[in-house]
Structures are given as structure tokens and as C-alpha cells.
Subunit: 234 residues, 2 copies
DNA sequence: ACAAAAGTGTTAGGCCTACACCCATGA
DNA sequence: TCATGGGTGTAGGCCTAACACTTTTGT
């Protein structure tokens, strides 16, 4: 008891909550949306899966905290993370009052090195998410809505797809996120009209002619488009 | 010194930030966007203007806190508030580490009773905002962006306009928020096509025929539209 | 030979934009 | 009588959605 009291050396006139960040990481394997989860090694919810995240330090911003925790737990350093909502339910953590500032990020699956055996990070298919710790299912639902909204305004594929990709992969991505089906021909022409795709010359004299054409994003045009406001009608 | 120490009875093993909510309240007077500000009565930033808000209690959610603070400081009880961003810069409050969860709300100007002389709340024209306390100018910028985005997805006028209004007022509202000019005829037909306006019969035998037509929102259709996703192209 | 995926173009309908004229009111 | 603001309709262009056939490859 004494020990416990001695450790509690940061005192305030009024009770203060703890603040954490959690990060919803989306990936795409060419067919399905994936989510990166961490298996919890400690109580509460030991053994359950959760989003990477942790306590914010007193001298770092939430953005810094999210980036730091993500790197510590998954090795990811490049992900562009964006805050999307702060969850404040009073009993969302059984230990004490904890509010969490939630982020999401879109990453290429290949950027997560599975080699790091200290990491308990694992990709899950969006349709096969296990039961999650804390209120993370709640967080997930909001993150998915956020993603659906953004994809209509930003050519998000950029972050989720490999450097070069086929038109079918791009279409699969949109279909997986929005949970709809598009006419292939209309999708092709719509994307071409946006003028952000560069065909990659993967046809040499001895490649079969029916290998799908490869594309990469035109980063210059992509950024221009993002600047002046982009709207994709589906 | 002893006094101060005695008052600090909530102790933790690690330092905890304080958490506040702040609320950006938008109004519309028929011509311009207005913001509701509070004059600060205490340090820091005493005498400066700021958004209504305050410290979150340990047993309330951020939503509850925002609602409570708003009512305490402005008397508003009906406003639908939505969280839009959490600001976490390390030095945003000179007293201690404070993060703030920011909300915005759209209200009818007439809902704020100026009668309450305890209240130091005052409407400011969006183009004549004084210097603000803390990082509230930063919060404002983000709130305005949020508003601009939302007005393209939700017939927001509902919340900002009086019960009945003219088409010109509605157009002024959109023009003020998005900072553009529309062709009057195109705006009329676009709004009519949405089918969320009910003409109000304000023409009696002895009214002059050239009084502008009045409308009110069709709440049923408005909600249907909001449900199934709405997109307004400007 | 057959299934599966890639490549390509046309048409009809709806929405957006630009634009002009008349009427009523109040100064 | 003049300026201001309200009321209405049309034509052209662009985007979207629906839709079919051929080629190639792998089984």
C-alpha cells in the first residue's frame, strides 16, 4: 500500500483522465481490406486483439504519440496518420478513466516486416476480425466510415497499393472499401479521365500480350487534384 | 505552499493532462456567418475572447461536458453538437498540459437569449473575429473547414436558418459559408430538385404579390436524404 | 474446348452551367 | 423613372450508367 502510494507522485487538485492514442491501420492485399492488430500481452483484455496504441506522454502531442506507439508495436515508420475521433466513454477502460484519440493510416502491407518476432502484430481480413479489446469494435466502425467517406475525395489507393498495380486491383480496392460492384468499363474510363494513372510499360517483345497492363500513380497530378478538391461520384 | 499541496489530492504514477472541451458555435443572420464567443473573466488570457468550453469532469463524457459547458456559458440547450478534432499541442495552455476536444454546433441566432446578463456571450461576424485566447484561432480554422465540407453533404441550413426563410437567405448562407457566388436561377432549381423545401403560403388577398416566397424545411425528406447519402455539387 | 480475365466504344439520360427577360416595389 | 430584387426556362456540354463482343491464356 505504501509502495503504491509512493509511486503516485503526480498530483492534481481535480481528477485527471489518462490519454491514449490508438491507430487503425488499413491494408489491402489485392482482394480484401486488412487490419493490423496487436495481441495484448497484459491485462486487461490479455490475449485479446487490439489496435496498436498506448499512453500519451506529458511532453508529446497526440500525433507524436500515435507515431511512436505505431513504430514500437509494428515497426511502421512511414505511415501518414490522421486523427479521426476521440472516444471518451467513462467506463471504456476498467483500470481508470482513459480517453483515447483515434488515428487511422493506410499502409502497404509489404511495409510491415513480419520478421520482427518481438511484434505480435498481425493482419486480419476485414470480414474476419476477432473480438476486440476495450471499445475497439466501436472505434473500428467509425474508422471504416471515415475511410469510406475519404475514398470519395482522395485517390486513396496511392497509400494502399504497391508501387505498380493493375486496374483490376484498383477496382477491387474501391469495391472492397465501399462494398459495391462497379462496371469494369466505366471504372476504367473514370479513372483514366482523372489523369492520375501512368501506364507502366511492362510489355516487352516476348511477354504475352494478355498480361494485364500495369499502372502507377502520377504523384504530381495526384497532389494537384487533392489540393483543388476532388470528387468521385459512385 | 502547504495549502496548495493539500488541495492536490488526486495522484497518479505518471503525469496526466487536463482535458477540456471547446465549442465553436456558428450562427447566421441572413447575410453573414456569425460566431458565438465568450469573454474570459479569469487568467490566462483574461479579457480575451474564446470559445465556450471548460474542463471535463471525471464522470462525464466529452459530449456531456460540451453540452454542459455550452449551457452554463450561453444558455443554449438545443444545439446538436459534433466533435470534430482534438487539439494536443504541448504548450497550448500556459497553466498545465491541457488537451481540448473541439465541437461545433449550428444554431439559430434567436435561440441565444441575450437577456442573461451573467453571460458574456456575444456574436461576432465571421469576418471580424477579434484576437482569440489559447490556440482558438487554430481551432476556428479547422472548424470552418469542417463546416465547408459538411454543407456539401447535409442540408445544413436547417439548423442555422429561422423556421421560415426566403430562397435568397438560403443562397446567402451557402455563399457566406463557401465564399462563392451562385447563379440565382441555378441555385433555385437545384434546391427545388432536392425536394426538401416546403413553400409556405404567405400570400393572402391583400399582400403585395412581390413579397418573396417563404419556405420551410421538409424534415421528413431532409432526414431521408441525410440517411441515404447526399451530395451537393458546387 | 472452355472458362476466366482483359481490352475496347456507344448511347441515352440527368445534372451543371451559362444566360435573358419580365414584373413589382420603393426610392 | 430607375434601381433593386424576385420569378421563370432553355440550350449545350459533361458525366454517368447500361451494355456486348473479341482476344488471350491456362486448364
Amino acid at each position: 500500500m505504501n509502495l503504491t502510494r509512493n509511486k503516485k507522485k503526480y498530483c492534481y487538485q481535480y481528477p485527471h483522465p489518462s490519454v491514449t492514442t490508438d491507430c487503425v491501420i488499413f491494408g489491402f492485399d489485392g482482394m480484401s481490406i486488412k487490419l493490423l492488430l496487436i495481441e495484448r500481452g497484459i491485462e486487461p483484455y490479455k490475449g485479446k486483439w487490439a489496435f496498436p496504441g498506448g499512453f500519451m506522454r506529458i511532453d508529446e502531442t497526440a500525433d507524436e504519440c500515435a507515431r511512436r506507439e505505431l513504430e514500437e508495436e509494428t515497426g511502421l515508420t512511414e505511415a501518414k496518420m490522421e486523427q479521426f475521433y476521440t472516444f471518451t466513454d467513462v467506463n471504456r477502460d476498467p483500470r481508470e478513466r482513459v480517453i483515447t484519440i483515434a488515428y487511422f493510416a493506410l499502409v502497404k502491407i509489404s511495409d510491415v516486416r513480419g520478421g520482427d518476432d518481438a511484434s505480435k502484430a498481425q493482419w486480419f481480413d476485414y470480414n474476419k476480425i476477432p473480438s476486440l479489446a476495450f471499445d475497439h469494435d466501436h472505434i473500428l466502425r467509425r474508422a471504416v466510415n471515415e475511410l469510406k467517406e475519404r475514398i470519395c475525395f482522395e485517390p486513396i489507393g496511392f497509400e494502399l497499393l504497391p508501387e505498380v498495380f493493375t486496374m483490376s486491383q484498383l477496382q477491387n480496392l474501391y469495391e472492397a472499401i465501399l462494398d459495391v460492384k462497379f462496371d469494369r468499363r466505366n471504372f476504367y474510363s473514370k479513372m483514366h479521365k482523372l489523369d492520375i494513372l501512368i501506364p507502366v510499360d511492362n510489355r516487352t517483345a516476348d511477354t504475352p500480350t494478355r498480361v494485364p497492363r500495369l499502372y502507377q500513380f502520377n504523384r504530381v497530378k495526384y497532389n494537384e487534384l487533392k489540393q483543388k478538391g476532388f470528387r468521385l461520384e459512385f
